[in-house]
């Protein structure tokens, strides 16, 4: 799975315009009404740790004029660094600390990305809430009706506007 292709697909589905500056660059640029930035794919964590600042600066420099023209939006620049490799334990702290550097852009660093879901989770800060909770009450009523196995009159008394007395009478009558 190409993480960059998946990232592009996810961002596009969420309303971002995307652009790959170079077929060999392993990066893509994105922008919507409020956010903008780039995604850079790396072979491993050391590569990210070694190149994130350079890639950020290159991006800012290349878009300097545009960002100057949009001073408020320029606060919303994201640099996203992804790799499918696992972060070695000894690099964990440095890897996490990259995100806490607020200079220039908001940084996102993610490792161990294997599936599409991993990519979606990596891009959570950029995309709308993904989970939709659907709770249906009518299903519950149907399931109750199916499980009760009551005679028709008793069922109508129980689930309708009837009373406990009516339900009890129906149970006695409909044996």
């Amino acid at each position: 799975m190409n993480l960059l292709d998946v990232s592009r697909e996810v961002l596009s589905a969420c309303g971002y315009r995307t652009h790959a500056p170079s077929p060999t660059d392993n990066s893509l640029q994105f922008e919507d009404d409020a956010l903008l930035g780039f995604v850079a794919l790396h072979p491993d964590v050391p590569s990210i740790l070694g190149r994130w600042r350079e890639q950020q600066d290159v991006f800012l420099k290349s878009q300097a004029r545009a960002l100057r023209d949009a001073p408020v939006k320029s606060w919303n620049v994201y640099s996203v660094f992804l790799t499918s490799a696992v972060c070695p334990p000894e690099l964990w702290e440095r890897f996490v600390t990259v995100e806490e550097d607020f200079s220039g852009t908001r940084k996102l660093t993610r490792h161990s990305l294997v599936t599409r879901d991993d990519v979606v989770r990596a891009l959570y800060p950029l995309i709308p809430i993904q989970t939709v909770v659907t709770l249906s009450e009518s299903d519950a009523r149907e399931r109750l009706r199916a499980q009760l196995q009551l005679p028709p009159g008793a069922l109508a008394e129980l689930l309708g506007p009837g009373s406990a007395k009516g339900f009890a009478n129906a149970l006695e009558v409909e044996q």
């Binding site: 315009r17 878009q63 545009a66 023209d69 709308p128 809430i129 007395k165 339900f167």
Partner: protein, 689 residues
């Protein structure tokens, strides 16, 4: 549907009128402590519910009061200096999806514009699971700084379950389950009542069956009725014809009772008479007479002995009196002897009389006097002892004499006493059998035999008469038994039906309860991915990157939150991390409200104790919610954070945003200092070739 207007007058920290037109997208409300941010949030809750729940605590009786037992209404309205201009009230505007604004105004006396029903119908989707009151709307719309962890991570598990259940809107099948349980109770009572009636009827069947058996047994003994009547008449000496058979039977039964009484009295009389006559025979024997004679001789001897002892006693008493009269003289003599011995002769002169005597003569006289005193004392002691013994003997002989005299009296009167007892027995026997009888034992035995024979004859005749009457009674009892048996069978069937219906009702109630639990589990399970996503977005803890929920309990349900290998984040996370996790939980609850049309989230200073990094995560989550059309109203203290939120919350043409600055003016309360519309950001900045 979203909030469109908030206008308060004289409410909480606002002395005057504060009005905020709320944009469709978001409002970031910024200000220092006490500038009125929380007052605006309170106004939202108060407009919806008429309460401010955060100031209440629950008493043992379930009442919600403030800490000093005062009403929260005492503090809802302006309490600062000066008077409020205008009527204190809170107005909340709600814009429906068709762009129509609905205004609700709540004052001191409740809603003065709009009604609770209208408000509820507007905000809540009408389903059976719709929450019972608008406090559920408020509780899942508005989250305050100090309540974020209290309502989430720190919430007891049972309360957390209830909170989530009310949020997801599935209240179980409470009304249906109540109906089924009520039916179970009704049918149980009915079955118990029928069971009681059935048991009573069965007892009646048993009694009638026994009666029938007895009657049938009796008829088997039935003989010649006419001879039985004759026997009764003869035995009772009845001469006149009885009015009917029943009367003769009654008289026969009475006759049996009389004869039984008479035979009993005769048996008792014969026994008593035999005993009296045996005793009389004893009295008349020579042995008895000789014994009496011996007693009389002993009495005579004892009387004589008593007389002698009495005479001796009198003599000794006189002697003793004489000694007692000379006792002072003897006492003086004894003192003289004592003085004489102690003083001795003084210069040839007697110290007692002063005469000149020789020493030998003095000693001789003293010795003589001493002997006299000793002799007199010994005699007195002997007489006293003899007198005491005589008195004792006299008492003993008198006692023996009295005992013998009593025995003589008893023996002498025995014959008279026995004669009296015999007469009494004869009186009692005569009273029992009604006519003077031969008073000998043999005579009474003959009479007893006659009575017994008559009793046996009469009993047999009465039994025959009773048996002849039992045929009709058997028919009556058989008819009655048949009717009772039919009633018993009907009750048995009725009982079976009621018991079967009760079992079915119970089974129904159990099924409903079980299905409610299953559905609730599924509802919360449906909520779980959302909670997971929000947790991942807010990233409270670097090590624990995933959160799980767990439900347990059957009667009372519990919902626990876990990280790692079943660890409780409440005790694992720092206060800031708990707050971030709490926000994830509360936002998941908020976004699960399928029953609520209001798509507005109100956060009151949610980032206290949260570091900048996690505050940024929260801004990103709110932005993600905004992109789903959620209106966000958020108060913050930090102007930089307010700016960040304005940049991230996406102001658009249709869902614009504003930045509101609040301030407090001493004596005048809080007021809106400025409202700045947040412009839409330029859409295409990057040069994407």
């Amino acid at each position: 549907m979203r909030l469109s207007l908030l206008r308060i007058t004289g409410f909480r920290g606002a002395k005057g009128t504060v009005e905020l037109v709320l944009p469709a997208g978001f409002a970031v409300i910024c200000g220092r402590n006490g500038s009125g941010k929380s007052t605006l949030c309170d106004a939202v809750e108060f407009a919806l519910t008429g309460q401010l729940e955060r100031y209440l605590y629950e008493t043992d009786k379930g009442d919600k009061v403030t800490e000093k037992g005062e009403s929260i209404l005492d503090y809802v309205w302006w309490r600062g200096p000066g008077l409020v201009v205008g009527e204190p009230e809170v107005t909340l505007g709600i814009m429906d999806d068709d762009g129509k604004e609905h205004l609700f105004t709540r004052g001191r006396s409740g809603l003065t514009r709009g009604s609770e029903e209208h408000l509820r119908e507007l905000v809540c989707v009408a389903t059976r699971a719709t929450p019972k009151d608008l406090s559920d709307v408020s509780r899942t719309t508005l989250f305050r700084d100090e309540e974020i962890t209290r309502l989430s991570v720190d919430l007891p598990e049972a309360n957390r379950f209830s909170f989530v259940r009310s949020a997801v809107g599935f209240g179980g099948f409470s009304p249906v389950e109540s109906t089924a349980q009520e039916a179970v109770a009704l049918l149980r009572n009915r079955a118990n009542r029928i069971q009681g009636e059935y048991e009573a009827v069965r007892k009646e069947v048993g009694a009638l069956t026994a009666r029938l058996s007895e009657l049938r047994s009796r008829t088997s003994q039935a003989g010649d009725t006419s001879s039985a009547e004759l026997l009764v008449k003869q035995t009772l000496s009845v001469t006149e014809p009885p009015p009917d058979d029943g009367s003769l039977l009654v008289r026969g039964r009475q006759g049996v009772a009389v004869l039984r009484t008479q035979t009993d009295a005769l048996v008792r009389g014969i026994r008593a008479l035999e005993e009296v006559e045996r005793r009389m025979a004893e009295v008349r024997t020579d042995t008895f007479r000789q014994e009496l004679s011996k007693l009389e001789s002993s009495a005579t001897a004892l009387a004589e002995q008593l007389e002698t002892l009495s005479s001796q006693g009198e003599q000794l008493s006189a002697t003793l009196s004489n000694y007692q009269r000379t006792e002072p003289l003897e006492a003086s003599r004894a003192q003289l002897v004592e003085h004489g011995v102690r003083l001795g002769l003084v210069d040839g002169t007697c110290p007692l009389c002063g005469s000149k005597v020789s020493g030998e003569s003095f000693d001789s006289h003293v010795e003589e006097l001493k002997r006299h005193v000793q002799s007199t004392s010994a005699t007195l002691s002997a007489v006293t002892r003899q007198y005491t013994e005589t008195l004792e003997n006299e008492r003993r002989v008198r006692r023996d004499l009295e005992a013998i005299q009593q025995r003589i009296a008893a023996s002498s009167g025995a014959l008279d006493l026995l004669a009296q007892q015999r007469a009494q027995v004869i009186v009692e026997v005569n009273q029992a059998i009604g006519s003077p009888q031969d008073i000998s034992v043999e005579g009474l035995k003959v009479t007893l035999e006659q009575k017994r024979l008559a009793l046996t004859t009469l009993e047999r005749a009465v039994n025959m008469l009773e048996a002849s009457q039992s045929y009709q009674e058997i028919t009556d009892v058989e008819r009655e038994l048949e009717a009772v048996r039919q009633r018993s069978d009907a009750l048995s069937k009725e009982l079976s039906r009621a018991q079967a219906a009760r079992a079915r009702a119970q089974s129904t109630a159990d099924t409903i309860h079980r299905l409610s639990g299953e559905l609730m589990d599924e509802q919360v399970a449906a909520l779980s991915p959302l909670l997971t996503e929000l947790y991942l977005r807010l990233r409270p803890h670097v090590d624990w990157q995933e959160i799980r929920y767990r439900m347990r309990g059957d009667v009372r349900r519990f919902l626990s939150l876990e990280v790692g290998d079943g660890l409780n984040p409440r005790f694992l996370f720092s206060s800031g991390q708990r707050r971030a996790m709490g926000i994830a939980f509360l936002l998941a609850v908020h976004l699960s409200r399928s029953w609520c049309r209001l798509k507005t989230l109100v956060l009151d200073d949610p980032v206290q104790h949260v570091d900048d990094f996690r505050a940024l995560h929260l801004a990103e989550v709110l932005s993600a919610m905004r992109r789903k059309g959620e209106q966000v109203i958020c108060t913050v203290e930090d102007p930089a954070l307010a700016d960040l939120l304005c940049r991230r919350l996406r102001s658009t043409d249709s869902e614009d945003g504003s930045l509101v600055s609040m301030n407090y003016e001493p004596g005048q309360g809080v007021h809106v200092e400025s409202v700045r519309a947040v412009p839409q950001l330029p859409r295409a900045v990057l040069k994407l070739a």
